[in-house]
């Protein structure tokens, strides 16, 4: 019982994308802004989950890549290197950063790893404040590249789709199998020929790339950035909340989580100007206590997903069907 056939699923997916691509021409500018911010959050949530979900290493500092990508983009743009070069520069800087921190930080496990990386956000925020000649300090930087809503919208949509594809392909690959075996039992995975450091590093960098590009796009869209806009605690923890709420370890989880929270944010935030962090905190507590697997692993969702043929057990499935399953 595989549910709906693959052809129909792909056609459905393409229709949805076409609709989303068409939307800016018929809806308000406000809605388009809401959407591209949703895409950016989704990119962050999914890219966080590449390391966090598949290997279990919860990098609470994932948005470091977002911040570095954005700041590098801004710095290079101010040197008149143009849109594309600045974006690529942001990506390169983030990848180098990931490589640099991986060596000491992958010696930590579990909560220490999580917290140390959160500390990186705080550190980068401090550096952004202190290194005035480079980053403009608390005053921030202006981006001299003109902003066009449609360009931002379509580039963030494209990046989002690519990120979804990336996470999906990883999940189905041998590489992904190595990652989840690290999550299950890192020492035993090691005993079966997997060098955990390389795989974790690869997952980290693969997650860093979309995040850094998203940072560049976001900086471009904001036109003016400062430490809070790219390296604040909220930007750091909201994608993690989204991934955990939706369900970690499977690409549908962060997608769902980011949709859910973005919508809730939109409806509730205007009525409640304070206590945003507190609400995220409460959500995290509730997930931790009652739903650590996230929404996609609740009974209701599991039933819907299996009817659509979208269960997690897509990865490695024996074609020889025997009794029992």
């Amino acid at each position: 019982m595989q549910g709906i056939s693959n052809k129909i699923k792909i056609i459905f997916f393409l229709i949805v994308i076409a609709v989303i691509a068409f939307l800016p021409t018929v809806t308000s500018q406000y809605f388009s802004v809401f959407l591209y911010q949703l895409f950016i959050y989704m990119i962050l949530a999914i890219s966080y989950d590449i390391l966090g979900g598949y290997t279990g290493y919860m990098n609470l500092g994932h948005s470091c890549f977002f911040g570095i990508g954005g700041y590098t983009f801004a710095i290079l743009a101010n040197k008149n290197l143009g849109l594309l070069v600045s974006m690529v520069g942001g990506m390169g800087a983030a990848a180098c950063f990931g490589l640099a921190i991986s060596y000491p930080f992958f010696r930590l496990r579990g909560a220490y790893f999580a917290l140390a990386n959160l500390g990186l956000i705080i550190l980068l925020g401090l550096l952004a404040h202190n290194l005035k000649p480079l980053t403009g300090g608390a005053d921030g930087l202006f981006i001299p590249i003109p902003y066009a809503l449609s360009a931002v919208y379509y580039s963030s949509l494209l990046l989002c789709l690519l990120t979804i594809l990336l996470s999906y392909r990883i999940g189905k690959s041998r590489f992904g199998l190595a990652l989840v075996s690290i999550r299950a039992d890192e020492d035993v995975a090691n005993a079966f020929g997997i060098n955990p450091y390389w795989y974790k590093l690869a997952a980290l960098i693969l997650g860093a790339i979309p995040a850094s590009l998203a940072g560049g796009i976001f900086a471009w869209a904001l036109t003016y950035i400062n430490p809070d806009s790219l390296l604040g605690i909220e930007i750091a923890l909201v994608p993690v909340t989204m991934a955990m709420l939706g369900g970690t370890g499977f690409v549908a989880g962060p997608i769902l989580g980011s949709l859910f929270i973005s919508v809730v944010q939109e409806l509730v935030w205007t009525k409640l100007p304070y206590l945003h962090l507190a609400i995220y905190g409460a959500i995290l507590i509730l997930i931790g206590l009652y739903m650590p697997g996230g929404l996609i692993r609740t009974k209701a969702f599991q039933r819907t997903l299996s009817r659509l043929g979208l269960t997690e057990r897509l990865y490695w499935y024996s074609p020889k069907q025997i009794s029992g399953l």
Binding site: G56, P104, L118, I122, N130, L277, G281, I283, G288
Partner: protein, 287 residues
């Protein structure tokens, strides 16, 4: 400001750090959970001290006495509501759940506090006379705090070595399975350890606010700092956390003066990276 002054003020800061880091270390050792909300207890301790001082104007040591009952109750509730329910799960599940719950708790506490009290509150301007020691001016209050912390350290040391609970804490930290086999009630000891650990953080908070100003959002960066200290001193070494705290305090003070106060919060962080690269088991830890 002379070098000696910098070092003594660093020592004092270090003492406060050591106290809080030690609290985190015993919680980690016994519960096997890193409490991301640990820094919040320090912040709340500071806040409570500020409030009590505003109301009663008494000296910090009495403030400590006054707020202890509140914090015992608060820690008890925190443990019961948030930590206890996730104990029974498998190891990977506990890890994820504990990060979620303690991080969520930290955010909740920070934001609600900021909402209720406003964005920042300054330090307690509690002053006594200043002493002149060898050409250096040291406010008496600082010496007294340092003395208090040292005395408290001594009491803790005694407690760990002599009392049943203290020995149980050490046993569990060193060998969890062994402790269980010997019949130690890990759940009860965990509860007590958690309360002690977080209360130490709260006490540290009282002293912190006498010396420096606080904001409700400091909690997370403080927890990161204490985590750095615990790793620096060596996971599993209770003494190491203490020593690490002192070292960090002094280093921060020195860097703060010679390089700039904007840079002193970064010290803990660079120390962490350095230790991880050079000696991952920490200064005093076992491999």
């Amino acid at each position: 400001m002379g070098f000696l002054q910098i070092v003594t003020s660093g020592l004092l800061l270090g003492g406060v750090y050591a106290l809080a880091a030690f609290g985190l270390s015993i919680c980690w050792g016994v519960l096997n959970i890193l409490n991301i909300a640990h820094g919040e207890f320090l912040m709340l301790g500071a806040l409570a001290a500020y409030g009590v001082y505003a109301l009663l104007g008494i000296n910090p040591f009495f403030i400590v006495l006054a707020i202890i009952p509140i914090f015992l109750a608060f820690s008890f509730l925190f443990e019961k509501l948030l930590i206890r329910p996730i104990r029974g799960r498998t190891e990977t599940e506990i890890l994820v759940a504990s990060i979620l719950v303690t991080l969520g708790g930290a955010l909740l506490i920070e934001d609600v506090t900021a909402f209720l009290w406003g964005k920042s509150f300054t330090g307690i301007p509690y002053s006594m006379i200043s002493l002149q020691v060898g050409g250096v001016v040291i406010p008496l209050i600082r010496l007294l705090i340092l003395a208090f912390i040292l005395a408290l350290t001594w009491v803790i040391h005694f407690y760990l070595k002599r009392s049943y609970t203290g020995k149980a804490i050490q046993a569990i930290t060193q060998n969890r399975e062994g402790a269980r086999i010997v019949g130690i009630n890990i759940i009860r000891i965990s509860m007590i350890t958690f309360i002690i650990g977080t209360s130490l953080a709260a006490i540290a908070g009282v002293f912190y606010v006498v010396l420096y100003s606080m904001t409700p959002y400091m909690g997370l960066s403080l927890t990161v700092k204490y985590m750095c200290i615990v790793v620096l001193g060596g996971l599993g070494s209770l003494f190491g956390s203490f020593a690490g705290g002192l070292i960090l305090g002094i280093t921060e003070s020195i860097i703060g003066y010679y390089v700039g106060s904007d840079w002193s919060p970064t010290v803990a962080f660079f120390a962490l990276v350095l230790i991880l690269l050079l000696r991952p088991q920490g200064l005093f830890g076992r491999k």
